[in-house]
């Protein structure tokens, strides 16, 4: 199994876990903050993990983000660059509805497969400049590692929040 295939299978299993954890959630549940004011709601977590992945994956491919290319800003009612979300304003994030939120996720998941499927081991060692000022360049493999860790941890949080809202035994 090629390293890229192994990676793709892992992140796709994480994606399946995400789909199970959000299945059938209402818009209210996507906005709910069971851990209190300032805590991250499921909707924001899905959006954030998708945005992070969008930026890293399209950065590797050297193409505009799916967010920009497919006009997701408009669909989420955001003008220009999204605000920087922090505990103080995370409650202002609007997930719109399940279809919009998961539609963006689905597009980025497809793009991930397209970009990662063709990578071979030497591609993983290719260095990429960071788009953030002051950050060191990283290899494609390291960037993929960051996305995987970020996504899996947030999926775990989403699953936990679902359990908090709906009680145990949902999965």
């Amino acid at each position: 199994m090629k390293a890229g295939d192994l990676y793709l299978e892992t992140i796709q299993r994480s994606d399946d876990a995400l789909r199970r954890a959000v299945a059938g959630l209402s818009t209210d549940e996507l906005r709910n903050q069971p851990a209190g004011a300032g805590s991250n709601p499921i909707g924001w977590l899905v959006w954030h993990l998708t945005r992070t992945r969008d930026s890293f994956v399209t950065g590797m491919a050297g193409t505009p983000t799916i967010w920009e290319a497919d006009g997701w800003g408009e669909k989420f009612g955001m003008q220009g660059e999204p605000p920087r979300f922090a505990p103080e304003n995370v409650n202002t994030f609007d997930p719109k509805d399940f279809e919009t939120l998961m539609g963006y996720f689905h597009s980025v998941a497809e793009k991930t497969a397209e970009v990662v499927r063709d990578l071979d081991e030497s591609d993983l060692d290719r260095m990429i400049e960071s788009t953030m000022p002051g950050r060191p360049p990283r290899s494609v493999g390291a960037r993929l590692g960051i996305i995987l860790d970020d996504n899996i941890q947030h999926v775990g949080q989403i699953a936990y929040l679902r359990g908090l809202m709906r009680g145990h035994g949902w999965f």
């Binding site: 199994m1 090629k2 390293a3 990676y7 851990a35 941890q153 947030h154 775990g156 699953a159």
Partner: protein
């Protein structure tokens, strides 16, 4: 970069995340439950490490450190190597208590330390070796089994981080 390096990177990141989340956490917070039927930070870290230890021992073909290095004693538990926490009741979850995060991180660290040289010795073809567990179709491979550990451990590490924020309030990770 080879497949085994991706796995090593993933498991190392999870371990670092656990160290950040558990730094200076009191034993009270470790066993606190947000609601009666949820999982505590202590249970989550114990469970994810049990899963890792158990799968690694199977792959290596040796005993679990839980038994061979007597980690069960540090948790005041039986040396039952089939107990990884899966299917635990609310009472069993609440029973996992530790005096400090040292024992949780100590166990996680030794299991990771055993994993690294194992991964470094794997070739790409080794990851494709099938594991004889006919209850699964297709059969798991060494690669997919290690991915399962990352998926399980990574999700639980995310939950531990979330719980710290839950109990401690905003911005703990900015420090």
């Amino acid at each position: 970069m080879e497949g085994a390096e991706i796995l090593k990177d993933g498991l190392t990141r999870i371990n670092r995340s656990l160290h950040r989340s558990l730094a200076d956490v009191s034993s009270e917070m470790l066993s606190k439950l947000p609601t009666p039927d949820t999982n505590s930070m202590a249970w989550l870290v114990w469970h994810l490490t049990r899963v890792h230890d158990s799968h690694l021992a199977d792959l290596i073909g040796g005993p679990e450190l839980w038994v061979s290095e007597k980690w069960h004693e540090k948790f005041n538990m039986d040396p039952d190597d089939s107990n990884t926490g899966t299917g635990h009741t609310t009472e069993q979850v609440a029973a996992i208590k530790v005096d400090s995060s040292d024992v949780l991180l100590g166990y996680a660290d030794v299991v990771l330390a055993r994993t690294i040289p194992y991964l470094e010795g794997l070739k790409s073809a080794d990851l494709d070796a099938e594991i004889n567990e006919p209850q699964w179709d297709p059969l798991p491979t060494v690669g997919t089994r290690l991915m399962s550990v990352i998926l399980d451990n990574g999700q639980h590490a995310g939950q531990v981080a979330y719980l710290r924020g839950y109990f401690e309030g905003l911005g703990w990770q900015r420090v």
